[in-house]
């Protein structure tokens, strides 16, 4: 069984450009989570879907960040007008049910120059 797949693994983008990150959850998992990992902040919660519906986006910066889950096989995190402070590793995880064990992808490292 394949794990959570995240693409791209690395992305370098210029300040002000848009970045889109993709996540393919484990087949059959109903919950998908996005987190952001930095040295300074650690692992920050961004947003969470259950059965493709957005459940909690309380961790998402109100401007420039958006997430979608158009079907059960993938989710996207889009950052508009990227800024240097957006540089981080973005982690996607899935689970059978919320509250259960999370299975993480290897992350997408975003560098904004």
């Amino acid at each position: 069984n394949a794990g959570v797949i995240q693409t791209p693994r690395h992305k370098v983008t210029g300040k002000g450009q848009e970045a889109t990150l993709w996540c393919e959850p484990i087949s059959g998992h109903s919950a998908v989570f996005w987190y952001r990992q930095t040295i300074v902040q650690g692992l920050e919660f961004l947003t969470y879907f259950r059965n493709q519906a957005p459940i909690d986006d309380s961790g998402m910066p109100k401007e420039r960040f958006s997430a979608q889950m158009p079907n059960q096989s993938h989710s996207t995190l889009k950052i508009q007008s990227t800024q240097p402070q957006d540089s981080a590793v973005y982690l996607c995880a899935s689970s059978l049910l919320s509250g259960n064990t999370l299975y993480f992808g290897e992350g997408s490292r975003l560098i904004v120059v």
Partner: protein
């Protein structure tokens, strides 16, 4: 909302020594508690979890953790560490209801000296 504090950003121990990594959570209800480990260049993996029952839970590779409700703590322990335990360890808490995402601490980087 719930939150987690891991007060030690870095811990260094010698191989064969015992280990305790500290975790304190903030949540008014009954929590689900987790420890995850991130080895270099890998994704996070579950070490152990507490849902209910015996407050001492066993995990993989000889790790265990104890839920102490009165202290809001869930410290991770290992009797004898190996160099391969060098990694970043994350404590996480979620509420015991369905529409809730786990919140993680900042992580503790463990270095094991040979």
């Amino acid at each position: 909302a719930q939150s987690v504090t891991q007060p030690d950003a870095r811990v260094t121990v010698s191989e064969g020594a015992s280990l305790q990594l500290r975790c304190k959570y903030s949540y008014s209800g009954t929590p689900y508690l987790f420890w995850y480990v991130q080895y270099p260049r890998q994704g996070l993996q579950l070490l152990l979890k507490y849902y209910s029952g015996d407050p001492v839970v066993q995990g993989v590779n000889g790790f265990e953790a104890e839920f102490i409700k009165s202290n809001s703590s869930f410290h991770l322990r290992k009797a004898s560490v190996h160099w391969s335990d060098s990694a970043v360890y994350f404590c996480a808490v979620s509420a015991q209801w369905n529409n809730n995402a786990p919140r993680f601490g900042a992580g503790t980087k463990l270095s094991v000296k040979p």
